[in-house]
Symmetry: C2
Subunit: 220 residues, 2 copies
């Protein structure tokens, strides 16, 4: 089954799992492991081995029966399938605490992603530089930065009230994908993919666990 | 099927979906809708109707054939099942950009969760107050704060190098659950549930989408 079929068939949930597999393989490679079976991957990282085989089957045959997957080859294939074998430029709009934190976030400015600028309309924030070296530019430079630096991804780190305006400005300027951290229901544009991040879901999952603990259950 | 069975059987993936359903129902309630079918939920919010019925079946029978679910009743039930019908106290360790952003994050300090303090060992940060009113206390007050305020959840927002120390301090002080934002492999303690957040997965999902776009596909 070729890459064309895979792109259309693979759901967002599956790409999330591919990212998880990539992390596992990166770890295994770092400790010098050469091959791994779906069963071992599942045991070691608390995953589902049937699901692993199903997810990886979409991308062709990597596994050898009885030997398992070649760790480095499978990792390289996942990197390609996730499209992070090239580097994409991104901007962060909003240079408050969240924007500054994201600019310095380990995974946002490495291995496939490059944050070219923070943008903000607060004069006091202009010219500041994040710890990792990302500079705060005036918000009215947004379209110029996106065009000149061929920015593909816009990251929204503003208040909910400003999120729609920022989304529209990003879309007008030609970004193809938006990562939205503002708790706002955005009116979407065709041709612009928006992924909204809701960090509260993680707390709710812990709450669900705690509820079990208090009632005397164990969930693991 | 009772709540006891549900707590043991429901995976972390399912609790994530319950959170998503809760958001959908909260929205429907806000626009005055009284009932909703699994089919309509699926269509409207791009979910899977068979999955919805399966997930909600674990929690008993709410749906009436031909009418659907009562929006308010199902919402209340999900709130109870997620354990957010009571308020749990949390602390954030690390008052850098990320910690301050989390202290002010809309879903972290409302409806089931209360951030009682930020803690940091940088003297310059002590006494600062986040926009939403959370105060920065000295890190050596961690155990006192956790005991006095019956804190159940510790949120790690420090550098990877400090994450293990903070995790151990939280565990020693008696928190039962940890939300970890540091990109570090933590050695876990039995009896302490740790959920690590990897924001990069969201970017990788967009990258996967962009790869399809560049190659001339549409994924939606």
């Amino acid at each position: 089954m070729g890459s064309r079929t895979a792109v259309r068939d693979v759901s967002e949930l599956t790409t999330g799992r591919l990212s998880v597999y990539l992390r596992c393989l990166t770890y295994l490679e770092s400790i010098g492991q050469k091959t791994v079976s779906s069963h071992e991957l599942a045991e070691r990282f608390h995953l589902n081995s049937a699901q692993i085989r199903k997810d990886l089957a979409c991308f062709g045959e990597f596994g050898t029966r009885g030997v398992g997957y070649d760790v480095t080859l499978l990792k390289q294939q996942l990197v390609r399938e996730l499209g992070i074998d090239r580097t994409r430029n991104a901007v962060i709009v909003g240079a408050g605490n969240l924007g500054m934190a994201l600019a310095d976030y380990h995974g946002f400015n490495s291995n496939g992603f490059h944050i070219v600028a923070l943008l903000d309309n607060d004069p006091e924030k202009l010219g500041r530089i994040s710890r990792s070296g990302v500079r705060v530019l005036p918000a009215d430079k947004l379209a110029d930065v996106i065009r000149e630096q061929q920015v593909a991804i816009g990251i929204i780190a503003v208040t909910p009230e400003s999120a729609q305006t920022v989304h529209d400005a990003l879309a007008d300027a030609g970004v193809a994908a938006v990562l939205n951290f503002a708790p706002a229901q955005l009116r979407l544009r065709s041709g612009v993919k928006v992924k909204s991040v809701d960090l509260r879901i993680n707390l709710e999952s812990l709450s669900f666990y705690l509820k079990g603990v208090k009632e005397g259950f164990t969930t693991e």
